[in-house]
């Protein structure tokens, strides 16, 4: 199998960005993975340094790059703008292209397959199956998914089925948004989707449910670029008609929105006008609400929410490079105090921390965050990314929610209903 690493202008700028590396090692001091394991030599070595020895027609010099979690902390701190995490992701793809994708990583990469199998009225049975210790042990031995790793529970209904059958459909309005729910909301957390829809509708938007597939991030981060490209192209095709009418795409999964905006186009080297248009019109939900507020259009008539909660901005949100939009909005809610975590990563990094050989590393990376959450004494933590929420709960026993749920509460919107 040969997979051609794209040779476009972004690829060129990626390659050239390694010439900006001045070997200062700032990235090495910031990488949360190399801090806890000797298996990973750090961003500078596997990124700009090893890249000089990677040629399409040669074996890759070092397999340790597979231990990069893709958290992108290195990119943010690098003073000269080297795209280290992208270099690493492409290097992993080169290894996968040469050696193939393991069954485990293929499964983890297709979160939509698994979701489709599990999210049904039979979910309780599937969940029992997944929480069975013996089965988890066998899965660890045979497939390589760590037996203690956090796996979410399937929902008995999907978000899409709820949306289609709900009793009070969205009012037709002049201002519309397309909601990108992602796999997690559809199969595991449909409640979150309902809440997001209600917050958007409360602010006068008609919410459209476009056809959509998995964003492809789990495949990208497992190095399966060719498969990821199919998903991305499908999504662009589905979303394009809306953005062409000026309708923005808004998502609650900060990793899905990042993938639509940047990860997929950059890593896959896809830069057609269509792909760019979709990217430029995709927003993380709080980013979108913050822009609404800047235009004076956001309803800021909040009820007090007397809570002090730990908030973890996940690495995928930081990678948007848009600051802390959830904090910017929620700091207007009377009585609410959010404690911002400064931990670089929770350790799960999508599917990284569920892998047998990486589970311990992920838990060690997240230790600082777990400690922060536990010391807050709160029984609720907030985080914009689903896999990170599951990891936080796994590491602390504390329930984790998307910050939009607090905004929903501040608007005094209806209490949770059961889906159907």
């Amino acid at each position: 199998m040969t997979f051609i690493i794209p040779s476009d202008h972004i690829e060129l700028s990626l390659e050239q960005s390694l010439d900006h590396c001045i070997k200062c090692n700032i990235c090495t001091t910031a990488c949360p993975v190399s801090a806890v394991t000797d298996k990973f030599p750090g961003p500078k070595y596997v990124g700009p340094q090893a890249q000089r020895f990677r040629r399409p027609d040669q074996d890759t010099p070092d397999a340790s790059v597979d231990y990069c979690s893709g958290c992108r902390v290195c990119n943010q701190v690098c003073p000269t703008g080297v795209h280290i995490a992208e270099l690493n992701a492409r290097a992993r793809a080169q290894i996968v292209a040469q050696k193939g994708l393991s069954l485990r990583n293929r499964l983890l990469g297709h979160s939509d397959w698994i979701g489709r199998m599990g999210a049904s009225p039979l979910a309780p049975i599937a969940n029992m199956f997944l929480s069975n210790g013996l089965i988890r042990m066998i899965t660890e031995q045979v497939i390589g998914i760590a037996r203690h790793a956090p796996v979410p529970a399937f929902s008995r209904y999907t978000f899409r089925s709820w949306f289609k059958h709900r009793s009070a459909p969205t009012a037709k309005g002049t201002r519309k948004v397309v909601y990108f729910h992602g796999c997690a909301t559809n199969y595991y957390e449909p409640e979150l989707g309902r809440i997001a829809v209600e917050v958007l509708e409360h602010n006068g938007f008609e919410v459209i449910l476009a056809k959509q597939g998995c964003c492809g991030l789990p495949l990208l981060s497992n190095g399966a670029f060719a498969d990821a490209q199919k998903y991305h192209e499908y999504n662009v095709q589905q979303l394009l008609p809306y953005v062409k009418q000026g309708i923005p795409i808004v998502g609650t999964s900060t990793s899905c929105t990042l993938t639509l905006k940047e990860e997929a186009p950059d890593l896959l080297g896809l830069h057609s006008d269509e792909i760019k248009l979709v990217a430029e019109n995709t927003y993380d939900i709080f980013e979108f609400l913050r822009l609404e507020h800047e235009q004076g259009r956001l309803d800021t008539n909040f009820r007090p929410v007397a809570l002090t909660l730990p908030y973890h901005p996940p690495c995928q949100l930081r990678a948007h490079r848009i600051g802390r939009p959830a904090l910017d909005i929620l700091e207007m809610v009377p009585g609410l105090r959010l404690l911002e975590s400064t931990s670089p990563c929770c350790g799960i990094a999508g599917t990284y921390g569920v892998k047998r050989e990486k589970y311990e590393i992920g838990m060690a990376v997240g230790a600082g965050l777990f400690d922060f959450v536990q010391r807050s004494g709160s029984d609720l933590a907030l985080c914009d990314s689903e896999t990170c929420r599951w990891q936080i709960t796994h590491g602390t026993g504390v329930t984790s929610k998307h910050p939009i749920e607090i905004l929903h509460r501040a608007y005094g919107l209806a209490s949770p209903s059961t889906g159907g």
Partner: protein, 423 residues
């Protein structure tokens, strides 16, 4: 929330500005492309050590400079302004358990990792026992595994300068072997009592007649003073840190301290966001745009501190045509006319290289000026290495300049702003 106090740059100048603004209740947003040169420097604060003002107290030298160069940033702050910034920095680091010593009295001369001697105004207490005036034999100790720190060479160079010194290598205790080592690995290990105990014992054995022991500046991240105390107890000698090559553990400690202080005071820090351009009207900066995924992030500006550093920090950039430009807001610069004039004839020229003196010219309130001497933006102030400041490298007015101008500009902005901005 809609318009904000913005600081661009996370070096010492930006951090000091953001701290001043946050403490004034102005909730600044600090945007930076990456970490500043703080991660590269030795962690000492060099205010002034110019060959033009030899053999005199530091404050006298500063006074001379203030008189001789009335347009120098130091002259615009005056001695009081400099002292106020130094005071704030000392109380900040002291409160964080990482106190700095020194001040405007005199420069302390410290040994470098090469065994050269280097004057500085402010130094972490963990480096204080390195003061060459203290006398006695010095033992320099390091690890083969920690690159670019060669105790025998440092000792030989000190000896050549008539300072009695010996260099030895320590052995990593069992269980600490790795594929690779960085200053951070050592810093994390020194936080473990067992590691300290093992190293302290070796130092005790190797000490001989030495009264002071110099170690690479990797003695822990959170409580280096505690590590120094422990090692002193065990080894029976005074311990001091010597700055390593980058990455700098003292710089990491400072960054942590500032991060904590700024966020506790209500500021926000956003790293990984390069500012690409600004937009203004009628002499006022209204918006800036930072690089982000898929599209720029737009920020509404109430007022702004430009603290983007010089050539090293990325605030000033050059290209092959010989153009020199300011990277964030494209402010006018003073720089050598042509590419030929950037460099002196020799690499280690005593006069330094002209290009490193490039900077943004400002008025007495640190506001940027154009070539006709008019203020470009009335709500922008410049601090740190981005400033036009004579020849900072030659004057050794480097991190000291960043620290003092950063604080000064932050307080100036906080007091000169219309009251409605303070929420």
């Amino acid at each position: 929330m809609t318009s904000r106090m913005i600081v661009i740059g996370a070096g010492l100048s930006g951090l000091m500005s953001a701290l001043a603004l946050a403490e004034a209740g102005l909730r600044p947003l600090l945007l930076a492309k990456g970490y500043g040169t703080t991660y590269w420097t030795g962690g000492t604060i060099d205010l002034l050590a110019s060959r033009r003002y030899p053999n005199m107290p530091l404050h006298t030298a500063l006074t001379h400079l203030i008189v001789a160069q009335p347009e120098h940033p130091y002259a615009r702050m005056e001695l009081d302004g400099i002292a106020a910034a130094v005071d704030r920095f000392r109380t900040l680091t002291k409160a964080a358990g990482y106190p700095y010593v020194g001040g405007l009295e005199r420069n302390v001369v410290l040994p470098t990792a090469l065994g050269a001697l280097r004057p500085t105004a402010l130094l972490p207490a963990t480096m204080a026992a390195g003061d060459v005036r203290l006398g006695g034999e010095i033992l320099i100790a390091g690890f083969h595994e920690l690159r670019d720190f060669f105790p025998p060479m440092a000792a030989a160079n000190l000896q050549a300068q008539h300072i009695p010194a010996r260099g030895v290598y320590l052995t990593l205790p069992d269980g600490y072997q790795r594929h690779d080592y960085s200053p951070r690995s050592f810093a994390l290990w020194f936080e473990q009592p067992n590691f300290r105990q093992a190293i302290g014992q070796q130092l005790r054995t190797l000490r001989g007649t030495a009264t002071r022991i110099g170690l690479p500046a990797v003695l822990g991240l959170r409580d280096p003073l505690g590590v120094v105390n422990d090692l002193q107890q065990i080894s029976g000698a005074q311990i001091f840190e010597i700055p390593t090559l980058p990455p700098s553990v003292p710089g990491m400690r400072l960054m942590n301290i500032f991060h904590q202080a700024i966020t506790v005071a209500g500021g926000r820090i956003q790293i990984g966001s390069e500012v690409r351009r600004g937009l203004g009207a009628e002499g006022v900066l209204t918006h800036i745009f930072s690089e982000a995924a898929a599209r720029e992030q737009r920020h509404h500006v109430a007022a702004c501190v430009l603290a983007t550093g010089g050539i090293a920090g990325g605030g000033i950039s050059t290209d092959f045509r010989g153009t020199v430009h300011e990277t964030a807001l494209n402010l006018p610069l003073h720089a050598p006319e042509s590419r030929q004039a950037w460099f002196a004839s020799r690499f280690l020229h005593t006069e330094g290289h002209p290009i490193f003196s490039a900077g943004v010219p400002t008025d007495d309130q640190f506001r940027p000026l154009d070539s006709t001497g008019h203020v470009v933006y009335a709500n922008v102030m410049v601090a740190g290495s981005a400033l036009l400041a004579g020849d900072p490298v030659e004057d050794r007015a480097v991190s000291g300049l960043a620290l003092t101008t950063g604080w000064h500009v932050g307080t100036l902005l906080a007091t000169s702003l219309p009251a409605q901005l303070a929420t």
